[in-house]
Amino acid sequence: MTRDIIVVGSGAAGAIAAQTLAGAGRRVTVLDGGHRDTRYAPQIPDGDFTTIRRTDPRQHEYFLGADHEGYGVADTRVGSQLTPPRAFLVRDVERFLPLRSDTFRPLESLAYGGLGGGWGLGCNVYADVELDRMGLDPATMLAAYRTVIDRIGVSGDPTDDAAPYSLGPITDVQPPVFLEPSMARILRAYRRRRAEFRARGIHLGRSALAMLTRPKDGRDPTHDEDMMFWSDRGLSAYRSWITMDDLRAREAIDHVPGVLVTGFEETEDGVRVDMIDLGDGETRSLHARRLVLACGVLGTARIVLRSLGREDERLPILCNPYTYVPCLQPARLGAAVPVHKTSASPLMLNEDPGGGFLDAGVASLFTYRSLLLFKLVKEAPLNVADARRVMQYLQSAFVIAGVHHPDSGHPSRTLGLEADSGSPTGDVLSVDWSPTDDEERANAARERRIGAALRRLGCVPLRYIRTPPGASIHYGGTLPFDRRGGRMTLSPEGRLAGTRDVFVADGSGLRYLPARGPTLTLMANAHRTAQHVASA
């Protein structure tokens, strides 16, 4: 049986691509690993974080994990956002997506809904100059952004100083989320000295978030329960599986879960897609007229290298460096923290000294409560009892700045497949990614400028914690967009060079990664690519 279109992956790009294709009347089969959280979601009660903490006697099961996976006491790295209810996102990854690298520490997923299940919800409409550098057409992307924003629901402020960086020309969004006192204080400090900040290239304002503040399509507005890292109550936060659930409920797609696509081969009348069953390891194949790869940059790279790659071939890879900066806001020491607040980052600080968007940096600002205090106590150089008292008092004054830097790529940063007979796929992905000395200097300078701005906003940076490459979970550039159709590139429409019926709808084609998160752009590009696939 020949299927119409196979989409590989159900994450941010795959779900949107499937939705667009189905909407165009195409018959879509989505293949994915299919893992879901069936264990914790039913256990988590309705209500806000504070009330749950004070009332639910079974909270240890989901806060700490039935398999104790939420403790993390032996590790000083912070992977806190991967809470037990989110651990399904990485199930089976180590076994089926092995990776070898001295430096690179990525996150991949075989989950239903992909990494979208743990997305921080930040939405960014890139400027024309950024899109152009990325290899995307600004005119078609603007239309795609509008379509995706309308589908998923985005809230923000289209009028403030951050709007050129978050929403661009788009104004049709829901009102922004509630701003808790810590964040409101920062915003007031910015506005008092706005001219001075802007003269230094600092533009602070509300983040655009894929978080509803008004009802939409059967999804509830956020109740600011500060439970974003634990549950998806009311579906106010957009998750890719929401789109998948809707498509499946309407029987608009066929869904084949529990598989890992390993490769493809074009046939006379389409594409054969090869896969491994995650359960029994058996191999099988499906045939389709067209194939759309949307399983994330690293996943797509594996498939393409196996299918078309030459021995020892390596592809370029982009990744945003990420540093997080815990800060202290002295004015908020011991202050009351409202029960209702968002877990997402409600403010973004854009650092763009040249004012041209290119090479701008960004700091997403968060407060800390719902990732549990013991994780802070663990980091304190004090005995546990005193550290608890100290951190309990300080936590209301903590502001975390998550700083991302842009990446234009470098010839030294590549990935490739190496043979490994112990791997279910017979290979392991090897990644070399290290910043150049110039990049390290530039990024450090940018962090100092951002730190200086934070101090002027009343937040004192305590440390600059540079995460390993890959930790930003923003990847791109392995199959760069290129009109010339060179080997291992994508056409502007997303067709894989050298193929007739294979398209790529994830971030593989992006030739440049702005500092601001790419997820909304990945979705818009997926929509745009799917439109081409539907009409090709």
Partner: protein
Amino acid sequence: MSSPAGAAQRPSPPAHEADPQRLAAEADRITRRLTGVPATPEERERYAAATARIVAPLDDGSARLWELMMRRPRTFSFIDAGLALLDPTGPVRQRLLVMLAILEASPTHADLFLPQTERRAAPWGFLAGAAGGAGRAAVGVPLVLILRRCAR
């Protein structure tokens, strides 16, 4: 999100470390230090289960320190303070942090961990913790170093 810190399985602990009565006593000792009251039966069970699964076995040096903390409560916070600087992720601190996490994920003790929601917290607990913590570290670091040297 960043790369996860997993709960890796580790080798089974020595038999004496896994003794239920011993573990219950440990849970009580730590809980009294942190909350002023003994652990509940459920908290003791969770401590035992977590210790068996995710906490590293005590090496000889850590075992001696741990034994001292359990037998002589007055040394508890000093040794803890010293290890917070000298061996923050070692097996002794892991046991303390596991119990802390268990207590945090319990309604009974929630208000020891949550920030104030109604009014500004008085700074006394913070000041006592900061000053006390620094003082205990000043004693604890040399204490741990001396104890380690004596053990060799």
